[in-house]
């Protein structure tokens, strides 16, 4: 599957912004804690990712994620 990091980043930022935080705050280094993104939000993000890229993210995968960049990198790696 040919997914670019830019494509994933754009989709992740768009999805997270729909959960509440301002899009300008959603950078690669921003932590989910700073963005007030909680476990329920991450489950929703995982649903979008699976629907879009066929990448299945489990609960244990999500627990390791601290920053937006962590999520983007994991999705790109899994999609490769």
């Amino acid at each position: 599957m040919s997914v670019t990091t830019e494509q994933v980043e754009s989709r992740v930022v768009e999805t997270l912004a729909s959960f509440g935080p301002d899009a300008s705050q959603i950078t690669r280094t921003a932590t989910f804690e700073e963005l007030d993104i909680d476990s329920l939000d991450l489950v929703e993000l995982a649903q979008v990712v699976e629907d879009e890229y066929g990448v299945v993210l489990k609960g244990e995968d999500m627990k390791e994620l601290k920053t937006v960049g962590d999520a983007i990198d994991l999705i790109v790696a899994r999609a490769a």
Partner: protein, 407 residues
């Protein structure tokens, strides 16, 4: 019945409402008294309510509409109480009860569509926390950091009345010093209409005209009513403005039929008697009744019978009107929305009319305040006293006795 021991008095220090007549407790009663009807196309929709005006994106998308309505009405009531985001009591001593008849039905419908169309894996993790019937209580407690006893109350169209009665008892017993309580409902959805329509409960003409001979069913509405209740001495000690008193609470059950009221009105009348006794009042002291008055043939006749049983000769003297003539039936919110309307009646001294009431029915032969609003008349200078009734599918009956603040 044994004598009631001395107990704590429960006063109202804040009220809020979101209704088909607009935002605000005062708006609800003022517009109703002015003869405005909030019903359009056979539904009482809160058209002036936009969640974006009141809630962040994160709050709004995590709450079903019924819980959004509850939070906004609660916000108004808390602001009026003067809590200003900083409650005057230990948060662990502040309770919260938010009633609903149905819960987050819009969420259920949306998520069920997603499951059918896109598969089980796409059902939102927010589904359950949005549609659970306690979601209103959860949302209000989180928004305002209330950490005492909290829960939802579910008894169909009596839910709002049960919430206020239970909150009153919580304070009287000493389990809380204040309770934010009320009810919320938002069932104006395709499935909601389909279910009530198939029961033939809804008015085919889309008109809510309680007690009128031509009444042909209720008009479904949505909304929320919330109140801040406080123990009287504590409220006075902090200098709060007392808006009124939850003076009495009575509740019984028909145990008769799944949906039809017990036709003699016996159990419903008993609820009214209990509320009056709880308030330490007699029928001669009652100044107004805010009826359940749904605009169904069965309810309005049975409620009339119940009022006569409970109040005897006094029944013909006491003005009775139905808020549902203006906003329709807000189901699990109704008891709370109508308690707010009743208290506004006692505060303003204006009894709003039963709108649309024109043709008398021999089965409904009391004073339903036809036509226009009229002044509330109280005898002997005592604080005005009213009853607000709520009856439900399932046979649940609630009567609240509400007393105006002493001048």
């Amino acid at each position: 019945m044994t004598a009631v021991p001395h107990r704590r008095t429960v006063v109202v220090t804040g009220m809020g409402a979101v209704s088909p007549l607009g935002l605000g407790a005062a708006t609800l009663h003022d517009r109703w008294a002015a003869g405005e009807v909030g019903i359009t196309d056979g539904a009482g929709t809160c058209r002036e309510f936009d969640p974006k005006d009141h809630l962040s994106i994160k709050e709004a998308r995590r709450l079903d509409r019924f819980a959004q309505l509850a939070v906004v009405a609660a916000g108004e009531s808390i602001a009026q109480a003067g809590w200003d985001g900083d409650a005057p009591y230990d948060p662990l001593r502040i309770g919260c009860i938010v009633a609903t008849g149905i819960g987050g039905i819009e969420t259920v419908e949306t998520q069920h569509d997603i499951m059918r169309d896109r598969g089980v894996k796409m059902v939102s993790p927010l589904g359950i926390p949005q549609y659970m019937p306690n979601a209103g209580a959860a949302a209000v407690t989180m928004k305002y950091s209330l950490r005492g006893q909290s829960y939802g109350v579910v008894s169909a169209c009596a839910s709002g009345g049960h919430a206020i009665g239970s909150a009153m008892r919580m304070i009287q017993y000493g389990d809380a010093d204040a309770v934010v309580c009320g009810g919320a409902e938002a069932t104006l959805t395709p499935f909601g209409f389909a279910c009530f329509n198939s029961m033939q409960a809804l008015s085919p003409t889309g008109m809510s005209r309680p007690f009128d001979a031509r009444r042909d069913g209720f008009v479904m509405g949505e909304g929320a009513g919330m109140l801040v209740l406080e123990e009287e001495e504590a409220a006075r000690a902090r200098g709060a403005t007392i808006l009124g008193e939850i003076a009495g609470y009575g509740s019984t059950t028909d145990a008769h039929h799944l949906t039809a009221p017990e036709p003699t009105g016996g159990p419903a009348s008993r609820a009214m008697e209990l509320a009056m006794r709880d308030a330490g009042a007699v029928a001669e002291q009652l100044d107004y009744i805010n009826a359940h008055g749904t605009s169904t043939q069965l309810n309005d006749a049975a409620e009339t019978a119940a009022i006569k049983l409970a109040l005897g000769d006094q029944a013909r003297r006491i003005p009775i009107s139905s808020t549902k003539s203006s906003i329709g039936h807000t189901l699990g919110a109704a008891g709370a929305v109508e308690a707010v309307a009743t208290l506004r009646t006692l505060i303003t001294g204006v009894i709003a009319p039963t709108l649309g009431y024109e043709q008398p029915d021999p089965a409904c032969d009391l004073d339903y305040v036809p036509g226009e609003a009229r002044p509330l008349v109280t005898g002997n200078g005592h604080p005005p006293l009213a009853i607000s009734n709520s009856f439900a599918f399932g046979g649940h009956n609630v009567a609240l006795a509400l007393r105006g603040a002493a001048k």
